[in-house]
């Protein structure tokens, strides 16, 4: 029997795990709440990692995968809770995406998508806008592994230990990628 859902606005403090349990019981409105809650960070993460065109499709696939594996989620074992689990699934979708298409081709296309996929900022001063464009291009030039760590850190705000777990690498490796990504960005921005 479906548990009646509570709208997001009426009770914003309903935890992710509670909403997930309701969704598992067949409450589609709980699913809506979860999707709305994570739409922006998840979409931005996917956009920055794979490009604007693929992001929407991967976003949908991520949520369908959440639904498909909902019985496997164990909050006690999942180190960052539902958010870490969600970003782990999204990261797997990104990896599938990269695998399904030629990596080299995607680096070129990804760069094009990241650069062309968004309208230029309208309300920002010229210098800021230029810097933002440079940053966007620099992010697209980062190696995939470094970009993933940087974007996971920025959009999911997960701890580095959780990011390392999501990526299936040691903590030192995840931190090293982050450090290299920052150095590379600084170098590209200074050019």
């Amino acid at each position: 029997m479906a548990v009646p859902s509570v709208p997001e606005s009426a009770s914003p403090v309903v935890g992710d795990e509670v909403l997930l349990r309701r969704l598992r019981d067949g409450d589609a409105a709980a699913g809506d709440t979860l999707v709305r809650r994570y739409c922006e960070p998840l979409m931005r993460y996917l956009q920055r990692v794979t490009g604007a065109e693929a992001a929407e499709e991967l976003h949908q696939q991520t949520w369908l995968s959440v639904l498909d594996h909902i019985d496997r989620f164990d909050p006690a074992q999942s180190g960052g809770g539902f958010k870490a689990w969600l970003f782990r699934i999204a990261t797997n979708k990104c990896n599938d995406f990269w695998r399904s298409r030629g990596r080299e081709k995607n680096v070129r296309e990804g760069l094009k998508l990241v650069i062309d996929g968004e309208a230029p900022p309208s309300g920002l001063e010229i210098e800021g806008a230029e810097q933002a464009e440079k940053l966007k291009a620099a992010i697209a030039l980062l190696p995939e592994a470094q970009r993933q760590v940087l974007m996971l850190r920025y959009y999911s705000n997960l701890r580095f230990a959780e990011i390392a777990s999501i990526l299936g690498c040691p903590l030192n490796t995840a931190l090293g990628r982050m450090h290299k990504a920052m150095l590379k960005l600084r170098e590209l921005m200074e050019q």
Binding site: L64, L124, F160, M182
Partner: protein
């Protein structure tokens, strides 16, 4: 409880990242701060790293502000529709974890095929090595592949032409030999006693 990361062989920059991100335990923070006091170069590196993180954060915020997700509500509705469609499916779909029908069939097919192959191989081996090892094997000749003419039971038996010719020739030979014998007897009647004896013995031998 995770092990103390300061005591692990973490790179100094990685340790600073954790420190800047406030992901160290109080004890670990104290250890790092002690190192920072002792090593001015490490302190400079930390300041550079924090400035870099701040710049990247600011840049990312500008990027995101410049590309507001105007279609976010559309995306949410679309995903919501997909979720409802999935929920409307039979409950088995949720617990089946997307196992395709093909994957359900294959686990039966392969062991069955393997078992059948083993049984056939065993039967052939037993037949060859155990059952008839000391007995002469019967020779089975398939008449379909021999040169002998195959006659159907209902068909009338045709006389053998060769046999008829052979019988005719033997009959004529016999008649000829009888004629020769009579001729000899006729000639012998007109000879002296010694010639008669000689001729009669020839006829008897012949």
């Amino acid at each position: 409880m995770r092990p103390n990361v300061v005591n692990q062989n973490l790179d100094p920059q990685n340790l600073l990242l954790l420190y800047a991100a406030d992901e160290l335990s109080p004890a670990e923070r104290r250890q790092v701060e002690q190192r920072l006091e002792e090593q001015p170069s490490l302190r400079d590196e930390l300041h550079q790293m924090q400035a870099m993180q701040q710049a990247i954060g600011l840049g990312m915020a500008r990027l995101d502000a410049g590309s507001s997700p105007s279609n976010a509500e559309t995306i949410v509705r679309r995903v919501g529709r997909s979720i409802r469609q999935e929920l409307a499916r039979p409950r088995m779909k949720l617990t089946g974890h997307g196992v395709s029908p093909q994957r359900r069939v294959w686990p039966w097919v392969l062991p069955t095929a393997a078992a059948a192959s083993i049984l056939v191989a065993a039967a052939v081996w037993i037949d060859r090595h155990v059952g008839l090892s000391n007995q002469p094997r019967p020779v089975i000749v398939d008449k379909r592949f021999t040169s002998e003419p195959v006659t159907q039971p209902d068909e009338p038996v045709q006389p053998d032409e060769n046999l008829a010719l052979w019988l005719d020739s033997s009959e004529s030979d016999l008649a000829n030999s009888r004629r020769v014998e009579e001729d000899i007897r006729t000639v012998a009647d007109n000879q002296d006693p010694v010639s008669q004896y000689m001729l009669s013995s020839t006829v008897t031998r012949g």
